[in-house]
Symmetry: C2
Subunit: 342 residues, 2 copies
């Protein structure tokens, strides 16, 4: 198949430190190349891929304030649709807006809905039911249950690249956007009460600088540390040595990529019962799905009951890269009405 | 001809109080209907037109914060291109972004560049040289001299709807956006020094609230008045009774619609020699083109030399609605390689 992957231009594809949409777009592009497909990746000019790279925007707009976002959003999106005749399918990872071009080309378009960026984008998804949607969890469909979903495909990770560790240190960790949605303040509240160690890492977006200053920074000390935005190697090390991962989110999670990364290294997760969390964590087996801070406190005390190998096994079974690529290829073939060639 | 006019959705078309892009889009739509063309206007749902109205966005986004601008910008723009097969020509008044759809349709697109909304949109205009551009003044082309301009067409007004007045009152006026670009603070500085009356009217955008509070409001008194954002009838009355119009702009003007409205009522204009001003004002005949506040002061003292009937005549000759409609029709025909049918 000739496949166009439209990534986001917020960050490089794959991202260097942060960028979940770009990460998944990259993994799918690389995976499809490995399956023998002819893949063109539309991403920032500094992106790296074994596919053919096409770009209009030279650098990530989040790192280059000189690049006017609206100008590059339009040019980037238009560029893939202007090439539509070259492809059997266009796979969109760049929010709902590219769908507004979809009726002007004959090539079918499938969109991975990485999250609903606002309630109003739902009307774009509804209007362009000529295209196909992939949800990243069944929970995320609740925002818009009636869309033209062709599949639910959980994100996958290259499990072998995540070192498994059966003997963790004595700290908990959280990795992700430092935001009230992710409940970093909840994790801090709990570890202070229980006098345990917490290591925090992740992006502080401009919209969350205040949150960090007021809710996080005052509590930092030798036991509660913020490590900044860390690279993949440091992330893996932080995860594998953690006794548990605390994801006490206050907003429904769309998927929760770091949760499966934690579990891949053997680290169990305590997550709030919001959004996709109960689809990712197998309750009482790879961590605990809790409904309050009181339940989270009990879960911490019971965490020794979780077998770390169960965490790893769940990721190998349900959240592997190979499984994700296989499912996306099936979706492409289903849309094109074809059978698998290999 | 079957003509699609893509207006802006910032304001209603035609606007009720402010909205120069929407005003010109409306005048062209109405003018083309009068010439017998089949016209479809793409604008907000509350717009009024004798053409066929098509809309996605129910109300002006500037007046309805519940409407997410990006969602409606994309949906509104896509709607005209999705109908492209129905039209001989698409006339875009909605900035550079719609051009990103232009290569996906066969219908030719002509854009009136109402101003360059940022330096970076120029690369969109450059990239879509498959389309045609109309400048609103020769001065405005200086921002991007090498574009695919097919014509320069000055804005036109229905001159007969502007009452001519040979006996003005003893005040000066300014109408326009209350912004440092428009030099409202310069006008105030000058009238205070000369102890003359000034009446100011126009929109205070959210970006200029500080400017108004600091530079304008402290100087308001019985001699220097701010009348708010006024409707068409009040505007005409304010203009026709003014002794002169003070437009001491600090930024190059793209066209200057209120200047021709002032001149239509017989009111001469003192304007800074920036952008289109010397194309609009005939120096020493319909006002003065000045290069400093000192020159502006001299101009005020010499304003009695200007014959108000000259102002009116210049507008009748160069800035009439009929002339503008005629020139746009010629552009459409030129693009389509056709001769005029009537």
């Amino acid at each position: 198949m000739k496949i166009a992957i439209l990534s986001s231009i917020h960050w490089r594809t794959p991202p260097i430190k942060y960028g979940p949409w770009e990460l998944i777009a990259s993994r799918i592009a690389e995976g499809m190349v490995k399956l023998g497909h002819t893949v063109t990746l539309y991403a920032t000019g500094d992106s790296e891929t074994t596919a053919r790279l096409k770009w209009v925007c030279p650098k990530p707009i989040m790192e280059n304030s000189a690049l006017e976002p609206k100008v590059y959003q339009y040019l980037h999106t238009a560029s893939v649709f202007e090439d539509a005749d070259q492809y059997d399918i266009i796979h969109n990872h760049y929010d709902a807006f590219p769908l507004c071009f979809s009726k002007l080309v004959k090539t079918p378009v499938v969109t991975t809905i990485h999250g609903f960026s606002s309630p109003q984008v739902i009307q774009i998804y509804k209007r362009y039911s000529n295209t196909y949607y992939v949800s990243i969890s069944y929970a995320d469909r609740k925002h818009a249950p009636d869309l033209n979903y062709i599949a639910n495909i959980y994100h996958g990770i290259p499990v072998n690249e995540y070192p498994y560790n059966s003997k963790p240190d004595n700290y908990f960790c959280f990795i992700g956007r430092i935001s009230p949605d992710k409940g970093v303040h909840n994790a801090i509240r709990l570890v202070k009460k229980l006098n345990i160690n917490l290591k925090i890492a992740g992006l502080i977006g401009s919209e969350n600088k205040d949150y960090f200053e007021k809710e996080i920074k005052p509590h930092l000390n030798s036991k509660i540390q913020y490590l900044g935005l860390i690279n993949e190697e440091k992330k893996k090390s932080l995860l594998k040595n953690a006794y548990g991962f605390l994801h006490l989110n206050t907003y429904p999670e769309g998927f929760g990529l770091t949760l499966i990364e934690a579990m891949a290294t053997g680290t169990p997760v305590i997550g709030m019962n919001l959004g996709s969390i109960p689809e990712v964590i197998e309750n009482q087996k790879t961590g605990f799905v809790v409904s309050s801070l009181e339940e989270a406190e009990k879960a911490i005390k019971q965490l020794a009951k979780i077998k770390r190998e169960n965490c790893r096994q769940r990721v190998e079974k349900y959240f592997s890269l190979e499984r994700m690529i296989d499912e996306y290829e099936k979706v492409y073939l289903k849309i094109l009405g074809k059978r698998r060639a290999h």
